[in-house]
Amino acid sequence: MHVRRVELTDFRSYERVAVDLDPGVSVLVGQNGMGKTNLIEALGYVATLDSHRVATDAPLVRAGAASAVIRCAIVHEGRELLVELEIVPGRANRARLNRSPVRRPREVLGALRMVLFAPEDLELVRGDPSERRRYLDDLLVARQPRFAGVRADYDRVVKQRNALLRNAYLNRKVGGTRGQDLSTLAVWDHHLAHHGAELLAGRLELAAALAPHLTKAYDAVAPGRGAAAIAYASRLGEALQADRPALEAAILERLQERRVAEIERGMTLVGPHRDDLALSLGDLPVKGYASHGECWSFALALRLAAYDLLRSDGIEPVLVLDDVFAELDGSRRERLAGLVSDAAQLLVTCAVPEDVPASLRGARFDVVTGAVSRVS
């Protein structure tokens, strides 16, 4: 898969820009603040309908403009797909696929598959467990789209169940009887365990499939510092198997054990929304032990592992490395280049072109405030 052309109107710092891209490597060169990441962010938005930098759409629209448009031509297995997105802050986005409007923007998901590594990904390692759950769930959905529905169902059940527990908690505080409010709790337990087990089984299988790719990727970017490893960490127990009926039973059992605490705290304390992905280097956990450089390498390795796994599934996503090479020394640059040079399409950004190894010299684009021009 590759992006053949991207056109932006009033997106971030771009009033109007069009960039034609080839398969293989493209390097975007520009000084700080020139708009390299903005361009990549637009492609990421086509792939996920989300920015990797901001939670709301307003900053994506050029200051002073009312809406932004991203138009992106994607070639996959010889067929070209045109995705057009109009971003209007505070309103639902509009999308077109091959010039026909789609009912919901979500229908364009899957048209562009992309793995993006950006400096913000340090949060994958340093941030809350929610960052790592999101990483796993996004990858799960990329491999098996039905998990988007499983996730949505599970989240909704947790929300409803929390509301029930909170109402019961508040009622109890004012001296009400609690049996009455909680008469439906068994129903929510059942649905929580059902959807939770499905999500959990998916994540367990994914973590197991991902683990060898992660070890390999970390070794490529930071060799000789002990093996990197990941393991799914659930409060339901260690070494869980991806067996849905068994997981469902385990969740129901733990719900019974935690019943009193849940009612006291007015929230759901059991289920995959409380889990984490444990990261380790050699014998030590990453959290609290690893250096800044090690954390950064680990974050990069998590993205590269995702890329590798999708490729081994037969999906050839576009790979984007934003500001990566400046952080690496010479030998590690070469190793990383060796790992990714055969990507169907690789987009690399840098401020100093010499940072990118010679083996990755493909097309080169200069990015200067609001303009992108191909120079070689």
């Binding site: 409803q160 109402n167 009455q180 439906t184 929510w188 649905h191």
Partner: protein, 197 residues
């Protein structure tokens, strides 16, 4: 802001579901320029809906008398009872032509986020109807979303011990959706392929 009556009308229209400020304004000016006879008919229809429409005392569907048209129809069987959330679901299922039994309209679904529990729905009334022994099969046709599924599970747990067959519509309905938006063919097939729970 306009003055007086026209702004009052815009405000009232704007409070209707799915009508934004722009549409409210457009409708208000349409009414202003419309033929007085047309406007009168609309006004009468609005007044009549509140005066004449009631809820069926048996199934809680909308009705124009004590009982709704379905409950009054002697050709329908009392042995199968279909539980839905809203009167609009009755209309959707009637369109499929697959169902010849009676309905029970709950008036919503269990939804803790909105403070709706079993006591806020017509569940006690349902248990009473089922308790008479005439009903042999209960079809749970609540929406295929989180709240509808929870309501169906709740009812199944409650009613199965009473010894009748409890079924749920087959899958194929759009997940997370509303019954009313399913087309006749999909909904009809879901009805045909219902399974015991």
């Amino acid at each position: 802001m306009y003055e007086g009556a026209i702004q009052d009308l815009i405000d009232e229209l704007g409070r209707l579901p799915g009508v934004g400020p722009k549409s409210a304004q457009r409708i208000a000016f349409h009414v202003l320029s419309a033929d007085p006879a047309d406007v009168n008919r609309l006004a009468t229809a609005l007044r009549k809906v509140k005066d004449l429409v009631r809820f069926c005392t048996t199934c809680f569907n909308v009705a124009e008398s004590e009982q709704c048209r379905v409950c009054r129809d002697p050709r329908r069987t009392n042995e199968v009872l279909c539980v839905v959330e809203e009167p609009k679901d009755v209309v959707a299922i009637e369109r499929t032509g697959e169902f010849r039994g009676r309905y029970h309209v709950l008036g919503g679904a269990i939804n803790p986020l909105e403070g709706i529990g079993p006591d806020n729905l017509k569940i006690r009334e349902l248990l009473f109807r089922v308790g008479t022994g005439e009903v042999k099969e209960l079809i749970l046709a609540t929406d295929p979303n989180t709240e509808g599924e929870a309501t169906a599970t709740y009812l199944a747990l409650l009613i199965k011990p009473m010894g009748l067959t409890v079924t749920r519509l087959a899958s194929g309905l759009p997940v997370g959706g509303d019954l009313e938006y399913a087309d006749e063919i999909t909904l009809g097939r879901a009805f045909e392929g219902r399974r015991a729970v």
